[in-house]
């Protein structure tokens, strides 16, 4: 098992995976009487692509929301970069370097693509209120510097042509890409992707897979992604957590998971006892 390699490992294609950067310990999340997540633990290593899969309603999105601080679990702990994370508001989590995308795209519809991606830089921009109000040196300079970084992301995701288009005019596939751009602009340590391929056609899925791999490869960003398309996940990820009805039923490399009895049952729809 991987836990026996605290210093990390090297993948088959030669990428270097580091130590544990985030660990979920015995997370339980309830809404009233409904248990969305039941006693789940897993870890995420630096530089890896970690997938959480499972059928609809398995609690995957809830798990992502726990990681990004939107839901607060009743039990369990989140460990991040070697320390236990206290109860945090989502914006505080974001400031720790965790960025994400959303299943039902959550872009700012009234703003241009450029402005949307610039919001990803918010936590890197420090100029004060008065400096901004007067548009003095620091604010203007900071704006230009961050714009440069954003332009790099725009180039990377090949969306130069829609830079100044209002987001609401974009088709679905491009919106997904802009959302990824916004998350990337934050230069996160961990990138959470909530169903990045949902609702896409084959071609768009291929594009998106390529971007995910490139991001991981070029920036060394740790990626946690949710998918229910098994095929895509197995190709992309280094390790996979499988959830069903709020419980963890499998955890390991794609190959290990593929041969796991319970996972097969859940996916082939064998009735639960």
């Amino acid at each position: 098992m991987l836990d026996t390699q605290p210093e990390g490992y090297t993948t088959a294609d030669g990428r270097k995976i580091g130590g544990v950067v985030m660990e979920m310990k015995n997370i339980t999340l309830r809404f009233g009487g409904v248990v969305a997540i039941k006693d789940i633990s897993f870890d995420v290593r630096e530089g890896e692509i970690r997938a959480i899969i499972g059928p609809n309603g398995a609690g995957k999105s809830s798990m992502l929301n726990v990681i990004s601080g939107f839901y607060h679990p009743q039990e369990g702990e989140v460990w991040y970069k070697g320390a236990r994370r206290p109860r945090m508001r989502p914006y505080q989590v974001a400031r720790q370097g965790i960025a994400r995308t959303f299943q039902n795209i959550a872009l700012f519809e009234g703003m241009s693509v450029l402005d949307n991606i610039m919001t990803g830089r918010l936590n890197h921009m420090k100029s004060g209120f008065f400096s901004q109000a007067l548009w003095w040196g620091p604010a203007a300079k900071e704006e230009a510097e961050n714009r440069e970084k954003v332009e790099k992301v725009i180039d990377f995701l090949e969306i130069q042509h829609i830079r100044k288009t209002p987001v609401r005019r974009l088709p679905y596939g491009l919106k997904k890409r802009v959302e990824l751009a916004r998350a990337l602009a934050a230069e996160p340590s961990i990138l959470l992707l909530d169903e990045p391929m949902a609702g896409m056609n084959v071609e768009e899925k291929e594009d998106m897979s390529r971007f995910v791999l490139d991001v991981n490869d070029e920036f060394g960003t740790t990626i946690v992604l949710i998918e229910h398309d098994m095929g895509v996940v197995m190709d992309l990820s280094d390790r996979v957590v499988v959830m069903d009805y709020g419980k963890k039923i499998g955890d390991g490399t794609p190959d290990e998971v593929r041969s796991n009895e319970e996972v097969i049952k859940a996916y082939l729809g064998v009735s639960h006892d």
Binding site: F31, S61, N65, F70, Q103, N104, A106
Partner: protein
């Protein structure tokens, strides 16, 4: 019983009738909000407009006579006849239904899928338009409205309370009637929504727009229906208030108070609207009774809003609303 307490009780009882007014206007809000998600700011002005129309029809005024006179130098005023109250009421109902149809046709059909805040602002525009229209159609002077409900001190209340407490409460007969009519109105609305086909469609739409559409309910019909119902509720409210203090602009300000009522009662609850209305009606009288002399009177201008504000901080979903779980 000590006198202060008796006076306070009397104030509370009088507040109850103001509360009925608030509840009636709030009821109109709830109807429209449940069925369409539109927060209809113009509900109060609809009451004013309905009352103006009622008086106008009753006394045989010529609509737009001021405008026509100004444009053509004529001296039109009245047709020279008066209508029986019931006929005038029926005529007003027709006008309010026509209004509902026009509102759906000309405004909200074009604003489908807009953000709620845009719809809200559209109803503020509608309120202004309707207020101007009412004044131009029927003239802006304060009008007396007589629909045949007895007015003056209620001897029954006086006698009963005298027998109980040794002090006769002053209460206007009209206000007792208002409470009674409001009760009948609410009851018939409930019966309508529970036992008729249209009522069932209404509840279906309130529950889930898309599902209702998919089983073949016409959303447009429902919208016209709720706006008509809200128009009728507005007519009743306008009649009550108009009979009490004359038909005048202040009516639409009274209606603003329905907003805090809704906060207390929740935006989608009919019982909530009624309980909320009564709480605010009684609360503001009692508050003014006890605190008015100390901090300077006329506190009913803001008490309702402040109460709502404080309430919002602790229970944003209202008394009867459901707790909202946010999702991403």
């Amino acid at each position: 019983m000590p006198d202060t307490l008796l006076f306070a009780l009397e104030a509370a009882a009088n507040g109850l009738t103001a509360g009925v007014m608030y509840a009636l206007v709030a009821l109109g809000f709830v109807l429209i909000f449940k069925a369409s998600g539109i927060f209809n700011f113009s509900q109060g002005v609809m009451a004013l407009f309905a009352a103006l129309t009622l008086v106008g029809l009753q006394t045989g005024q010529i609509p737009f006579s001021h405008l026509i006179n100004a444009m053509f130098g004529t001296r039109l005023h009245h047709f020279g006849w008066t209508l029986p109250t019931l006929v005038a009421i029926a005529g007003t109902v027709v006008v309010m239904v026509a209004f509902a149809w026009l509102v759906e046709r000309l405004i909200f059909r074009h604003l489908v899928n807009q953000e709620p805040i845009i719809l809200f602002m559209a109803t503020i525009g509608l309120a202004y338009f309707l207020e101007g229209l009412g004044d131009i159609m029927w003239g802006a002077e304060v009008k007396r409205l007589d629909v045949g409900i007895p007015q003056g001190m209620s001897p029954v209340v006086d006698d009963v309370t005298y027998a109980w407490f040794g002090y006769g409460f002053y209460m206007d007969t009209l206000e007792l009637w208002a409470a009674l009519i409001a009760g009948v109105l609410v009851l018939s609305l409930i019966l309508f929504s529970q036992y008729t086909k249209q009522g069932r469609a209404l509840r279906a739409v309130a529950d889930d727009h898309q599902a209702a559409l998919s089983v073949g309910i016409s959303l447009r019909f429902i919208w016209v229906l709720v706006w008509s119902l809200a128009g009728i509720v507005a007519l009743v409210a306008g009649m009550m208030w108009g009979a009490k203090s004359g038909v005048q602009f202040s009516l639409s300000l009274i209606a603003l108070k329905a907003l805090p009522v809704l906060i207390l009662g929740g935006f989608t609850s009919i019982p909530g609207a009624i309980v909320g209305g009564l709480i605010i009606g009684v609360g503001e009288r009692l508050f003014d009774f006890f605190m008015g002399p100390i901090i300077g009177g006329a506190t009913e201008n803001w008490f309702a809003y402040m109460l709502a504000l404080v309430f919002l901080l602790f229970r944003p979903q209202g008394l009867f609303g459901e707790k909202i779980i946010e999702r991403v």
